[in-house]
Symmetry: C2
Subunit: 361 residues, 2 copies
Amino acid sequence: MKQPVFNFSPGPAVLPHAVLEQAKAELLDWHGSGMSVMEMSHRGREFMSIAAQAEADLRTLMQIPQNYKVLFLQGGAHSQFAMIPMNLARGKSQADYLDTGDWSLKAIEEGRRYLDLNVVASSAASHYTTIPPLATWQLNPAAAYLHYTSNETIRGVEFDWIPELGDLPLVVDMSSDILSRPIEVSRFGLIYAGAQKNIGPAGLTIVIVREDLLGQVMEGTPSMFNYQLYAETESMYNTPPTYAWYLAGLVFQWLLQQGGLEAMAQINQRKASKLYAAIDQSDFYHNPVDPDCRSWMNLPFTLANPKLEQRFLDEAAQVGLVTLKGHRLVGGMRASLYNAMPEEGVDALIAFMRDFEAKHG
Amino acid sequence: MKQPVFNFSPGPAVLPHAVLEQAKAELLDWHGSGMSVMEMSHRGREFMSIAAQAEADLRTLMQIPQNYKVLFLQGGAHSQFAMIPMNLARGKSQADYLDTGDWSLKAIEEGRRYLDLNVVASSAASHYTTIPPLATWQLNPAAAYLHYTSNETIRGVEFDWIPELGDLPLVVDMSSDILSRPIEVSRFGLIYAGAQKNIGPAGLTIVIVREDLLGQVMEGTPSMFNYQLYAETESMYNTPPTYAWYLAGLVFQWLLQQGGLEAMAQINQRKASKLYAAIDQSDFYHNPVDPDCRSWMNLPFTLANPKLEQRFLDEAAQVGLVTLKGHRLVGGMRASLYNAMPEEGVDALIAFMRDFEAKHG
């Protein structure tokens, strides 16, 4: 390695260094088995123990109640966009969706192929820099569930509250902020997250679902899209993505060692606050998001002079600050500060931003 | 590691030692990038180069014609069981399926949910120890395609020929024998394979499909089950399983270094022939499969005295020969001899079998 690199990728994203070190040490021989975890039968004693420990640790971290199943799936959030209507409509033909940005819209677009969707509110008019207040949501009494995105990875808009909607099952895409702070699982019908941001490598998707919502799948649903089949088989209906599951388990152990989600929340808040402060204190940098719903995980920002953007990215890369380019839909820069991004990385970015402003401001 | 282990798992399965060594060496820092491959954005320059090289190497290995797309997917063969009818029916309502064993049956069971299936022939009457001769297949002229399984992993029945059916698109589940010998890709409409046997770690599925078959997906197909969306995006419709893709690429490079598929075919034939000879030369061991269709990849065998099976497995494990237990549907033993199983492993197994027979025979 030429120099330490801080990787601000929105996903796949930085993993805890200690986790990668352990994965490396165990790569050829897991616990004296003589096998790599990648080589193990998913139905063998060794991998079954890895899988069970990962689930147990996730249950501890998130305090998942016993009436919730934890499923280890493939296919990312994009698969969930179809699986959710197919599994959770439960005989109804309508569902409520909140629109707070690009990922909300993807869920809506795919969900519309299966159900009559009602968009309860949208922040499109603010260019997705706000969250519509709950009091303005136009709920449909016939909806099977309400779907929302707790953190919009592209524009950096995050909920720090959970909508209270009585008995209507809440379904949340938590892909980019799961495990970043404690949440009350019992408030949700279903939580899902692609692994490649705060959990582990790409190719694994976690679903946490209240048991009573399962078992009424829509006709024509592929078996691989039927939650019930995974719930009945400890997520081994077919061969699961074993190595990604193992890596996720190492991340869960690392999170427990850090003090769990309360500790992570403190660190994450501190990291994000520093960077927002640096942005707000300068006329050279700008973040457009309403301070009440700014993400701790994904911090987009622009330069007052957009012509300097490529130079910013190039000079940042030269000092080891990489993958800072904003999403193509919004341009500018984006710093993703997931759990595994060390505070030193944020400090280094802020120092670089000050230097860059001093040179070019 | 206590001692070298030879892992005969049917999948996830042994990987080439050189590949695992390279993965270990690069785990924390791929080519001076300062990042693990697991941490890289799938849209970044580094991973795009890994992905493109893997596809190019697979095309070289299998001599894939330019009018075929190579897709890197998730979800395993089980997802293909639904994706194939959903994508390849192309307005027709019927398809032909050959039944040569447990994996054929799984494909049939799921396919039936979408199309009217005609089972052209079945070897059920022989307890799946044969392949029905092509002349006996009852083809349906209205079929959209014909599906078969080139290697039945559980009972060890393998095609060493490709059915000639004129213009009817041939669809083949090659999960457990892809890359084990050269095959003529242009004879097929679609070839698919879960990675976890002869390609790489679980969580990746390769589909090789003739372009003209794409673009007529069945209504209601989830976007993630639509081949066309992957074909249009170089398999980056959503975040792919990046680390598994990288590992597969390392395996492809290793295969090229071994001399490609002609060289592998010679080695695989030699490994399998040795073990079949050892089984056939003894009354103590037995393999029931018709010698004309015995698998080079998965060699099931039983003991004349089934009471000795557990002892066989225990004593084998003591000398580092592991994961030899047969599938629960058939019992007995099964040795899977994928590309990555070194010939020394087969020799060690044969030596152990002779010793065991001498002791207990």
